[in-house]
Symmetry: C2
Subunit: 250 residues, 2 copies
């Protein structure tokens, strides 16, 4: 049995849900409330010592890190192939999985703080003191120290500009890649597209959606239309926010 | 034919050389002088727009990103298997490949700046102005802006302490993983061990080598002894520094 520990709007959870949907695999949902810091609690960090979602429980074996989960699902459930057969195209699929984590994810994270995360904390009445106490409880300092800095120092306009410069660079690479074929790894939709789809989905609701508009990057915009038209995308991204009061609706 | 663009002491170049050596694959060397900023020049960024080493040219197809190169070599030259056959163990191999890039690499990078990189710039008479000019030429802002900050702001003791806290966390995970078997993905030496070996090799010559000592982390220390005893390790790590005047000898 497949059980996914995830959060409705986390980009990495969306990656895992999208892969499960593309493969039409049934799975049990365990929603982990990141804004209640459930992912920092021992009940969860026993499963995932990195204190991050998603985590996949497959018959008692725990697989963590979204890119690793995607490759695992591909290894175990190859009925719907999402890794290209050609070794070079497969390397492109893995390059884009890596780019999504190395460049897209941390930088959409920076740009999501003021626009989404801080808004969410405020609307739920979660004070800075509560967030800082939670950050100190997080066993993974990569996560805990980042959250502490976001509360203590904040995300400045300079930070956001730098993050957008990095996203611009990556989107330029993406536009160029899509000159070679309709999907990021070539002729076939693959894990590469699954890795980038949640990042582009997030950019669309951040303050500078023009960076993925057709006027600026026509191939990225066309790819994004084709991604959203896939039934698996609709299924994976329609997972409902369990908190009706959350000001973040998408 | 395999041609590797690499730098003798870059941890990611070492990963690629170690994998090639484990597989006994012949390869042609193109040494890219990072301290002459050759990796920022168009002649190189045409091959690798991320402006990083290594890059692998396999019969004219260019594969970039060290983890992607390792998986590519495994896909194309599986005669010596470095990915476990069991899907769960394979997920552990990929988790450690990812951990090496997500946590180990950037943080040994932080801790290498004052101890190695700044020393190297100084001994070669490369002024801050020259480095800043090079940083501005780098097409990849992830790399260029990081170098600019290291010159303008420097790496403070607080930065180093934070980086060591993250390395400590990762090494705790590594110690725990090695309770489960002799190698990072279980019973078999794998890409996971190749991913982490250059990181531990670097930590050994940084200011706090005690974090990998037997007194502190016996399983990590024992693993490190076993890694160094492998003929492929000796081969991959004996690639000579072409610059005899470089103060960094290892």
């Amino acid at each position: 049995m497949l059980r996914l520990y995830h959060y409705w709007s986390s980009v990495c959870s969306q990656k895992a849900r999208l892969c499960l949907a593309e493969k039409s695999l049934p799975w049990e949902s365990v929603h982990v409330d990141l804004f209640n810091f459930e992912n920092y609690q021992p009940a969860y960090t026993r499963l995932n010592p990195k204190a991050l979602v998603p985590a996949l429980d497959h018959d008692g074996r725990i697989v963590i890190e979204s890119n690793v989960i995607l490759e695992y699902l591909e290894d175990v459930f190859p009925q719907v192939w999402l890794r290209p057969g050609d070794a070079y195209e497969r390397s492109l699929a893995r390059l884009w999985l890596f780019n999504a984590e190395e460049i897209a994810h941390p930088n959409v994270g920076v740009c999501s703080h003021n626009a989404r995360h801080a808004v969410r904390f405020k609307s739920a009445g979660i004070s800075d003191e509560v967030v800082l106490r939670a950050a100190d409880q997080c066993p993974n300092p990569v996560v805990g120290l980042r959250l502490r800095r976001r509360i203590e120092v904040g995300v400045t306009e300079a930070d956001e500009n730098e993050a957008y410069a990095k996203l611009d660079y990556l989107l330029d690479q993406m536009e160029r890649q899509l000159e070679q074929g309709p999907w990021l790894a070539g002729a076939q939709y693959s894990l590469a597209d699954i890795g980038m789809a949640p990042m582009i989905n997030r950019i669309e609701v951040l303050p500078r959606p023009e960076i993925i508009a057709a006027a600026r990057r026509p191939r990225v915009a066309d790819w994004w239309q084709r991604i959203q038209a896939r039934p698996a995308f609709v299924e994976a991204f329609s997972f409902k926010n369990p908190n009706a009061d959350d000001p973040v609706k998408r």
